[in-house]
Symmetry: D2
């Protein structure tokens, strides 16, 4: 941590500040500049509150040198984390595709889609039971009934299931019922929920918030890991920018950046990233080429009548074509898929 | 709602689409353009899912004409909502200042600050008991004990209290204990929490999310109101932009925009908007001049030793000076303060 | 164009507005809604000023249906534009790599780099002579001398050269000296420069502005094309967002979007998109996979002593490795490279 | 300047780097941390290229301590710059209003507006002769004829005139004809233009670019000042964010920030900031309350028939009402207006 002092800070105040820092068990190194002087702080600063230092008299700016996350940090855990979900490996050079409808609508619908995506090579089934909707008047998901239908589809196909949780009250239920628990973008900083999930051992698929920095994203993973659950899968799904042609802007460079900073697996959701089904194909290929560990793709047997996210859902036919092309691409890239 | 069709959409498909819309109890008006044709949809479209329409074959784009919020909409409720909190009126030309420390730290601290801000003319006491922190290793608030200390400070000063809720599990407790329940920026789209708050009659102070559009902000207010609770206070607290000198960018024009679109009171939080205490003074004055119904300001007796948000907290002396100047300003602006 | 009227607009004023529009040679279609009424405007609205309509009394909002660009619009020119630069084809299924140093520094440097990138398979040589620098105190390029060195390198290697122009005063000189004229991101809306370039027939490589929407980007291409020069190559090079880990955020989905909306070739600059050399490799592959027509990559023989953009420059060795891998990828994607 | 080294950088390479820095006439201070080590660089680093340092082997990150601008920097010039335009003082506690039409359209129009705004208390006349328009098909201004009409209006009213320049070729003409030369947001980093303006002594009104950081904005002022012209007026006019209700987002806190960092006068353009005339009134008051040195406001005698920016133009009547209210506000704020 580096502390930049205001111009003309009295020597006495500098010494007081240095003493205060030393009392936290840290060491300091004071460098006098021509205009600004700085204090270098040495030791484990991950638990030091940057804001507390900023609030000290004569402090102009505080800059972190050490990342504030530890358990999610590749510096301390150089090897890739590989998460095993019923024998399917996520991370570490394996490429996984999770697919299925935005929301579970009926027994027939989820079974048709589940069978179709399985045939095309998807190994994990996604489907929404509880849906976060901007409008209180929009379809909110089949909820408990949706969970039951997902379980039936799992039984029928053998595919593990991933679905979104929205409330800390449902953690116990989800741990029992599903294979991967998804935390949506809007709940990335729902810290009470993250803390509850940290107490379980269930794989968590954590989506990046709409305006979360990469560091904040990793700090949310750290919340879950600090609680004791290190099975976290990161998911880039588009960020909010000024561009409105696409619903969000897929931050494709976040994938190699996250993989450099962290050992956790990183997947991409091209469906939510843009909100347009015709962009899912090129973006899926880009995600594979850039080094993602997998994809999460919305597939619906009848997009025009889907109860949500129809505009971004692929038909089973389009999904099948995409999967075939991804397999050719994987070979060229030496990816195991 | 206006539906723009793709170039060369077959007449048969257009008729099918029109029929589908008519079946929803809406009327249509079909306009043939030189290149693009459009369908105007007439009737109450607030409950029609825009995405469902977008997913139809040959639909190029869908544009809303009617706002998707109804209860929060000034068009349907022209008069300003005035919320009464123990005799203190919020909205409708009254100017209210809520102030106090970022987090409640001790009985002594909250009492010193409460008395100070009361003396300066603040009428509502703010203080954090449960704190949403980016890092799992940062101070998370005194929680239940913090609530108790706030209640003691209320008893001592007579000021109503406002504090932040983070979990739907605590709604009952908060309804009993506090006077205004605050929903923080990170939870603006925590829909489960909003739904629970909609079942109460407690005033809710809803903060705008870091990257929430004005429409999304009003839709979150609509969630609470749709549940039956129309006591919602909107709070602009800065949005995330590319500029990093300030922590966030105060969207000052959001204040008059929100007041035009909605009848709900709108206050401004200049402390979180920038993260710098020396900006609180000019931004508070700007907020009053632009037409806000009030302010929420962080005050701490000893910012350098605050357990959170020290850099943005005013000392009681600086706060007192600001309040005096705001009173002069209010007079020039014909504001009741 | 669709005009949304304010609630309760008097019939008389609506008729006046309709008449005003009809006088511009356009047709109107008036649709009465439950709350808002709308006027559909039919005919060539590309030359109608949206702002003029917005300024009319009782107009609540104006929405375009037709895109405001015509010459750059795929709807009117379905076939891909292919630009021929000394026999090298850009666009229409050909993949081209332009590479070289950020700035030309010496005869020796440009020749070493030019020979190296040619050997690796690059067919166009890039190099900066006039450099747009944020600081007036930074190296501003070798200017005229840089141009001469580029011409020598072209002579030595046979590669066409592309370099950036910053002033309308230099158009004549650049037309004579270089093969492709580059307009940088900061000058994307330097309309005087665009107009001058529109009078030439030289291929123009137009970079997207840091905060330009896709529509504004295409409107700048339209400026050049409206002047009579249809040889425009679009270049996505990252946009400005709140994320600061990378210098900019590569908007990878802009590539398929631009190719859908326009017939112009689209290339990607992964070097400027992130400012970090280790990200050039994965982003180049992503750009190819997503459907770009080519790449522009910075290569420097000695990045640590480069006079600009060292941190984002590849060494010739790293560039050679990347080119080999791109060739394998191209085969899997059926791309001609 | 602080250089953060990669983990495990060999001692030999560190010494080489230190030597390289020392050779630039700077001093270094090497601090060994637990994980990361840092090098503090002491001396005048404003002319050191941050990118060059970043490109060195083993450099993880470089952070500036000293601001990169010197002439625009309040640290080196504590007193407010006051610019005198024909006896009208800008900066240093004086409040100035520049107003007039977006574009000059006719002798009659500019004279009507000029007389009206003068009567209301505006002291400087604005009006566009050369107009930067997103579309090549939109009205581009009366150009030379517009300049002549402005000069006539100046003669008739005695008000100095400010108008926008778009090309370095017109600098000589503008120096002769106008009193303040405006550089628009799109040209904030048109460095060739800035350099030409730096050679004059004419007051320059420099608008902030749509996505320019505060530091980049000050660096563009530095370009003009480095050339020898220190008469720069800064103008905040809204930045581009994800919010689309307003055309741009007025960054109101930029005003006190700019005034803290720099000694230059800072004015606000509320018309372009939002694109909506009904927001000009509250935002003008907010700008005065926050500490701006003045305003630039668009006024048109007939907004519905304005050739540009009609939706954001005030009528003379609305402008007059605003000016009266600003005068009351100024008194309460002890501002000289």
């Amino acid at each position: 941590m580096i502390i930049q002092l205001e111009v003309n800070t009295p020597e006495k105040d500098i010494q007081e500040l240095i003493e205060k820092i030393n009392q936290k068990g840290l060491h300091t190194n004071y460098v006098v500049g021509d205009n600004h002087s700085i204090i270098g702080v040495i030791g484990d600063t991950s638990k030091v509150d940057l804001e507390e230092i900023e609030a000290q008299k004569h402090v102009a700016k505080v800059m972190r040198v050490q990342e504030p996350y530890k358990k999610a940090n590749r510096a301390f855990h150089p090897d890739n984390t590989i998460i095993d979900v019923n024998g399917i490996k996520i991370g570490g050079g394996n490429f996984v595709v999770m697919s299925g409808p935005c929301s579970v609508e009926s027994k027939e619908q989820i079974e048709i889609v589940a069978n179709a995506v399985k045939t095309s090579g998807s190994t994990i089934l996604r489907g929404g039971a509880y849906k976060p909707r901007t409008s209180p008047y929009a379809f909110q998901g089949l909820e408990l009934e949706g969970l039951e239908l997902l379980k039936l589809a799992r039984k029928a196909t053998g595919m593990p299931i991933v679905t979104e949780i929205m409330s800390p009250n449902l953690v116990e239920k989800f741990v029992e019922d599903v294979d991967i628990i998804q935390v949506g973008a809007r709940n990335m900083q729902n810290f009470d929920l993250l803390k509850e999930l940290g107490k379980t051992q269930k794989p968590i698929l954590l989506k990046r918030g709409l305006s979360a920095t990469i560091e904040e994203f990793l700090m949310s993973a750290e919340y879950i890991m600090a609680g004791g659950n290190s099975n976290v899968i990161l998911c880039e799904r588009g960020i909010r920018t000024y561009e409105t042609y696409t619903r969000n802007t897929l931050d494709i460079s976040a994938v190699p950046v996250l993989k450099k900073l962290s050992h956790l697996p990183v997947i991409v959701d091209p469906s939510h990233a843009t909100g347009k089904s015709w962009l899912v194909d090129p973006l899926s290929k880009a995600a594979m080429a850039v080094g993602a560990d997998g994809l999460m793709i919305e597939v619906h047997n009848d997009p025009a009548n889907a109860l949500c996210d129809g505009p971004q859902s692929l038909t089973p036919e389009a999904f099948d074509k995409l999967m075939k092309e991804l397999k050719v691409l994987a070979k060229a890239l030496n990816i195991d898929f």
